[in-house]
């Protein structure tokens, strides 16, 4: 027993030495370690997600043919309406491109849409995130916006080989600029997630609202993305100001609580918007040697 305890003392010393070493090693080593353990779990997360899909499949298969026929008829009607809308939007897009070319106006960021299934949701006081079954191998990069229809779900924070971690709108690390519905001056406000309270629904904070702003009478004001900065496309819904706005302690601005647009904790499928071309920030961060024009070498 004494030898055992004596050995423990040596182990404690080794642990203290290792903690010191751990703090000094380059962050790449720690990142590699995190990545390795995330990849170890990835197949299990895929399995969980596929299991859910299978359960949903069998649940749908148990429905009566009448019910399925009715759902199919409704979908056909919606498809017909959407096809008409696509044609209208396509005309508008062509016109938009032509006018931009005439004015030599910089084109807005274009995105490729990638549909991804949700594997697991992770919530705590300090984070609200989902893990999706699409990763680096599918072209997802950190910072990609994640949406459902025209509603913002969050932003990709970390990308692994076949999975990605998405910070939800309510997560403390989420930041975004927005416009408020009913604000004719289009003042830019700030949306940020906050540390959540357990056992309550997650919320985000809308701040820097001018004192002149009044929510539209008789309806709940929507909060929409601005499109500034090129991360999120413009006019996507971030959520609503269900509880209105109130003055800050300094009385020179207002703030409100954002209720997310989609029930974030029940969502099964999302769309990741991958920019078609690198953003200005990414271009600046890429090594200059490869992209330098010949005349500047």
């Amino acid at each position: 027993m004494d030898n055992n305890r004596q050995g423990a003392k040596a182990s404690y010393v080794a642990l203290v030495f290792f903690i010191g070493l751990w703090m000094l090693v380059p962050s790449a080593v720690r990142r590699f370690n995190r990545e390795a353990f995330a990849e170890f779990q990835a197949p299990a997360l895929h399995l969980v997600g596929k299991g859910r899909d299978l359960a949903r499949y069998w649940e749908l298969k148990s429905r009566s043919p009448e019910e399925l026929a009715a759902a199919s008829r409704d979908l056909a009607r919606i498809n017909a309406a959407l096809e008409l809308k696509i044609h209208t939007l396509d005309d508008a897009r062509k016109e938009n491109v032509r006018l931009r070319e005439l004015l030599r106006y910089p084109s807005s960021t274009e995105f490729v849409t990638l549909v991804a299934r949700v594997s697991v949701r992770e919530t705590s006081s300090w984070w609200q995130r989902i893990i999706i079954r699409k990763g680096r191998s599918d072209g997802v990069v950190p910072g990609c916006p994640v949406v459902f229809g025209d509603r913002v779900i969050g932003r990709v924070s970390i990308v692994h080989l076949t999975t990605s971690e998405v910070d939800l709108v309510t997560s403390p690390s989420f930041r975004c600029t927005a416009f408020l519905e009913g604000d004719e001056q289009n003042n830019v406000v700030h949306v940020s997630g906050g540390a959540g309270l357990s056992l309550t629904a997650p919320r985000a904070l809308v701040s820097i609202i001018p004192v002149e702003y009044n929510p539209p009478a008789g309806q709940i004001a929507k909060v929409m993305t601005t499109g500034l900065g090129g991360v999120f496309p413009a006019h996507l819904t971030l959520g609503t100001l269900e509880s209105g706005v109130h003055s800050t302690a300094e009385k020179h601005l207002q703030e409100g609580v954002l209720t997310p647009a989609k029930e974030l904790n029940f969502i099964q499928e999302v769309s990741v918007l991958i920019p078609k071309y690198p953003t200005a920030g990414e271009i600046l961060l890429t090594p200059a040697d490869n992209s330098k024009p010949e005349e500047f070498r």
């Binding site: 055992n4 050995g7 182990s11 642990l15 697991v120 992770e122 006081s125 609200q128 540390a195 309270l197």
Partner: protein, 176 residues
């Protein structure tokens, strides 16, 4: 089967339980709580594995929890390693089931506190360390960690003991 890989086979046997708890957290996602059982998962292996094996096992369990969450790297894993060293040096303190329950509750509670505070330090501007919000949230997570440790210790120990028997790890009395 090589005994030196026992810790790895034990990680494989424990991982489904950790994943199961994550899925339970997923089912409770609307409540914003994170269930945690990694601390309790190192108790049974520390009774039988050699110290270096228990240390590797504890580190893996800690890193598995940290890998998909925004927790400072190594904060939980290194605490579990410290707990594994202590437990392997004091095997008499986890010899019978009641003592194992106490150890599971203490280690799980301590580990839960560690990751909660480590992750919370990034948000001190919003939530000061000694505010009612911080303490309230910590107590909720600590309470849930305690409940999880008590509820899952027995099945977890059974599975881990079964895995260790299959790999050929010596019984607690023979382990040094």
């Amino acid at each position: 089967m090589s005994l030196s890989w026992a810790w790895f086979f034990l990680v494989l046997a424990t991982f489904p339980w950790l994943l199961g708890v994550d899925l339970l957290s997923d089912a409770l996602a609307t409540s914003g709580v994170c269930l945690f059982v990694s601390g309790a998962a190192i108790i049974a292996p520390c009774r039988r594995l050699r110290r270096w094996q228990a240390v590797l096992f504890a580190a893996c369990v800690g890193f598995l929890f940290e890998a998909l969450r925004p927790i400072p790297d190594g904060s939980l894993a290194l605490l579990l390693v410290g707990a594994a060293i202590y437990l392997t040096a004091h095997r008499d303190e986890i010899r019978d089931m009641p003592k194992m329950f106490w150890a599971a509750v203490l280690v799980n509670g301590l580990a839960c506190t560690t990751w909660f505070v480590a992750a919370g330090l990034a948000h001190l501007k919003q939530v000061p360390l000694f505010s009612l919000h911080f303490l309230g949230q910590w107590l909720v997570h600590l309470l849930l960690a305690t409940i999880m440790a008590v509820l899952l210790l027995v099945p977890l120990t059974l599975v881990q003991n079964f895995a260790m028997d299959k790999v050929g790890v010596p019984q607690p009395d023979e382990a040094t």
